[in-house]
Subunit: 419 residues, 2 copies
């Protein structure tokens, strides 16, 4: 059969698949050595990367991108050195591949081993931040996977320079440079091609805003690891300790408002609100938190504006918060069921029964009792670097470290067994 290769993107995916076979059989030491070479080379060539980044920044300014966006795009010598540090940290992580997860012998003598192996080729589709180019490559290679990178067009020059530097570094290593593929086209069609390349790509991981993630989930036939939209709620129950409640609320809302584990909605029991409204109002005011409330919240909290459907359903990623007043933990759960994104949800209460109900019935990756949702993070939980935070239920849920980039194989050894 002659395989008709349709495009450069498909050629790249095929090259990645081939390189993955070489990678899959390298030892942990060999892979770690390469990660150190990559780290060293990124540091050496930081100026090349910065000058490419300069072009992206200039283009961004011309297009009038907003400050926060430009900040995420901008690289400095320190940031490039941080990329290198990240790779060295990945080298320190335990290599999950090759682990024999279980091993038993059937009555007929057939030996059965369940072994952890790399997925093969990872397709990474992401937006502005150029650090993803390095982080995702490091995690993919460490877990024995090839990677196809498709970054956002606003960082195209930075990403291309980073990949060029990594390719140069790979020249003298045991990992073929074909294991790291960069889709240089900024054409949307190139991204869409990746969606259906089941023959060559084993998993797609979208990282970015909700619309990027939805585009991948809705159009891909390649299996997807869905990451990151976090419409997280803090439910303050009737029995909540006021100090814990306010500390947790402020931390979850204001520590880093733009991240996915930040709180977007406060759900508050009406009796708690009646008792502690002065403290709550003062805390919101002191922390410059703007309230979009339901009718009851608007009645109680000065300056609050009436929330609409968008307020309940979407992330603010800013110092805004939606406030919903309820009369029971069940009503709080019903609200989370309707609007939550299955990321991180918290209850603040001293009532053990309410905790049990919340933990049993709320469907999300991470559930908190009397703690901030901000802990849903590979670093904070002690997993090391993460490739994203899964909000789906299959394969991986919550922060995804190296094991999420693996699958299993059953290896059977016999001496002629038949059934």
């Amino acid at each position: 059969m002659t395989v008709a290769v349709k495009s450069r993107v498909e050629e790249q995916a095929i090259e990645a698949k081939k390189a993955a076979k070489t990678l899959a059989i390298l030892s942990t030491e060999e892979k770690n050595q390469v990660l150190h070479v990559l780290a060293d080379t990124l540091e050496e060539k930081f100026e090349t990367i910065l000058s490419a980044n300069h072009k992206d920044l200039q283009a961004g300014r011309e297009k009038g991108y907003e400050e926060a966006f430009m900040d995420r795009l901008a690289l400095t010598k320190e940031r490039v050195y941080d990329f290198a540090k990240g790779l060295r940290e990945v080298a320190e992580l335990e290599d999950p591949t090759g682990d024999v997860l279980s091993n038993w012998t059937l009555d007929n003598g057939l030996d059965v081993k369940q072994v952890r192996v790399p997925l093969g080729v990872i397709g990474m589709i992401y937006e502005a931040r150029p650090n993803v180019t390095v982080d995702a490559t490091g995690l993919a290679l460490k877990s024995g996977n090839a990677i196809v990178l498709k970054g956002g067009s606003s960082a195209i020059n930075s990403n291309k320079a980073i990949v060029d530097v990594m390719h140069e570094a790979l020249e003298d290593t045991k990992i073929p440079k074909q294991a790291v593929q960069f889709i240089a086209s900024t054409d949307r069609a190139a991204t869409q091609e990746l969606f259906t390349m089941k023959e060559h790509i084993d998993v797609l991981i979208p990282r970015g805003g909700g619309s990027l993630i939805n585009a991948v989930v809705n159009n891909a036939t390649v299996p997807v690891l869905e990451t990151g939209v976090g419409n997280c709620h803090i439910y303050v129950d009737v029995d909540a300790d006021v100090e814990k409640a306010l500390n947790i609320l402020v931390n979850a809302k204001t520590d880093r408002p733009a991240v996915c584990n930040a709180a977007e909605t406060l759900i508050v029991h009406k009796n708690w609100l009646a008792k502690h409204k002065d403290a709550l109002i003062e805390t919101l005011k002191q922390n410059n938190i703007a309230v979009h409330g339901d009718e009851e919240a608007v009645r109680v909290i000065p300056g609050a504006v009436l929330a609409d459907e968008d307020d309940w359903a979407n992330e603010y990623l800013s110092l805004d918060i939606a406030v919903k007043v309820v009369d029971s933990v069940e009503a709080a759960i019903a609200h989370i069921d309707q609007y939550g994104t299955k990321h991180s949800e918290a209850i603040v209460t001293e009532d053990a029964q309410a905790v049990t109900t919340f933990m049993n019935l709320v469907d999300a990756a991470a559930l908190y009792h009397n703690a901030s949702t901000r802990f849903t993070d590979g670093g904070a939980l002690g997993f090391g670097a993460e490739i994203g935070i899964s909000t789906q239920k299959l394969h991986a849920r919550g922060p995804m470290g190296l094991p999420a980039l693996t699958t299993i194989k059953y290896i059977m050894s016999g001496n002629g067994q038949v059934r």
Copy 2:
């Protein structure tokens, strides 16, 4: 927000989601008790089921379905009693839900538990065999999941009667009958609605032929557990023991040709073939195996016809076999890469190096050295009942028992921790 419910199918999925919340918090004992009630009731009402099955058989005869199909469709008292026995066996299996998979405490005192929980609602889309209606329901309920069943139209009366009996049995149990939903419409649109019901259905499991599975994989936005097409190969290496090779070939091809772990292609090293062609030819002949070969195979094996692309790419599910002659293990692997379905692949050899190469480089759920591919089966491997055999890499690979119907939750317990 008023939720606009679009159809009866969506109503059913919503009912299932609601019922799943009740189910998720039942104890193992409570669930097992229900499985026994279901088993007893199926036995009691077997005549109701048989008379419904009679209608399906009559319709099938009128439509001129072939014998093998009619045989899979036909129920007897014994078969219904086997359904009941299957449910009692599922009651004996270990309940994976509620298991604390790991538990640690952060430096700040936050307790982190990774707990196994049910997926929620399983959508089962399947073809003729009515036993799937019972087997899938048993596995779903045992693992704390609700289920939406969409069986093939040829078994509609049988499936409906089985579900009616199960609903009647559930009336007096702790599991609401809404946990078992049966899509009674034989309209294709009803199935397609399930494909995109992400809000209500957590996973779709298609079981049946390749075209059913492809329709689900290509059109679903709900995550899919892909099962079962097995285009399995037996590679007989240059160093293969002749007795082992022929025994394994015959077993894998003829024991149950219609199942997914049966062999469909023999790949044979040219030097082995040259040496053992008489024994191979005699064995194929004695077992009525019809050969579709490449040019070399056709030259050597009397009566062989020339294979085309379809022969390499598809399952025969009959006593036909494709035969490919190669000159190395690498060439065998390249053929499997091109045509395999990542199900089960075997190498017969006495050469340890060839085994290592095969195990490292063939990408499939189950790899065999000197054993028949027929062992890829939950029962044979000691997992108990299976919901299908996964040929995908994410979430579950190979025979899927109860753990494949679960996910995890992180449960964090604090006393006010913030970041």
